[in-house]
């Protein structure tokens, strides 16, 4: 898992991951790129991350992938990420395509629902929590 301040260098990350697995005999490499869209007059999105819980979440996914003979990877941005740049990339390597295609789907969806990352719109230099696009994590409301 890789965390960066500001936008991701997508080509460098994907190229390096490809090189790292060059001799691993994986038949499939499925990358996913999340790019900040220009909408609602935002200048950027901004992100807070709680790294200890994110690392535990990611370690659990690495174990799930390993059990399928696959590898999951991800990188995410912290702080401001301007429109038309990338805040999130992930990828799955697997011996055959079916496992990687299915795993990238469930991995990215669980990431959206349970990775401890908070998103803010940046407008006129101000950070505004994206409350209406956010999802309560599993177990929410315990202390209510």
């Amino acid at each position: 898992m890789e965390l960066y301040n500001g936008p991701l260098d997508v080509k460098e990350i994907f190229g390096r991951w490809l090189d790292e697995q060059a001799d691993s005999n994986y038949g499939a490499y499925i990358p996913f790129v999340g790019t900040i869209r220009a909408e609602d007059d935002i200048e950027a999105l901004s992100f807070d991350i709680y790294e200890p819980v994110l690392q535990t979440w990611f370690d659990t996914w690495q174990e799930k992938a390993k059990a399928l003979g696959a590898v999951v990877k991800m990188a995410h941005a912290k702080g401001d990420v301007p429109v038309h740049t990338s805040s999130y990339v992930s990828a799955v390597f697997s011996p055959k395509r079916r496992v990687a295609l299915e795993l990238i789907d469930v991995f990215v969806e669980d990431f959206k629902a349970n990775a401890p990352i908070w998103k803010y719109d940046v407008k006129n230099g101000e950070r505004i929590y994206a409350a209406d696009r956010s999802t309560a994590m599993n177990g929410a409301g315990l202390l209510a």
Partner: protein
């Protein structure tokens, strides 16, 4: 004494309190009217592990983290 920290957009400084269980933490946090709306939507981690049981017994030095709704990517 345990520590309670509020993550992401909650924007509240950490608290220290005496609490034997997470149920005690719940009672004390609900005394703060600005937190009640957040608590309905927030998940909880104890020492950086997600938890879902109010009966968990706390010990001195434990860290309880309050995690509001997320949106990575």
């Amino acid at each position: 004494m345990i520590k309670v920290e509020f993550l992401g957009p909650i924007g509240k400084a950490p608290l220290e309190m005496e609490a034997d269980t997470l149920a005690d933490v719940s009672i004390k946090l609900k005394e703060d009217s600005t937190l009640r709306e957040w608590l309905e939507k927030c998940a909880v981690a104890l020492n950086d592990t997600m938890v879902n049981d109010l009966g968990i017994v706390l010990k001195d030095g434990d860290k309880v983290s309050i995690l509001p709704p997320v949106c990575g990517g």
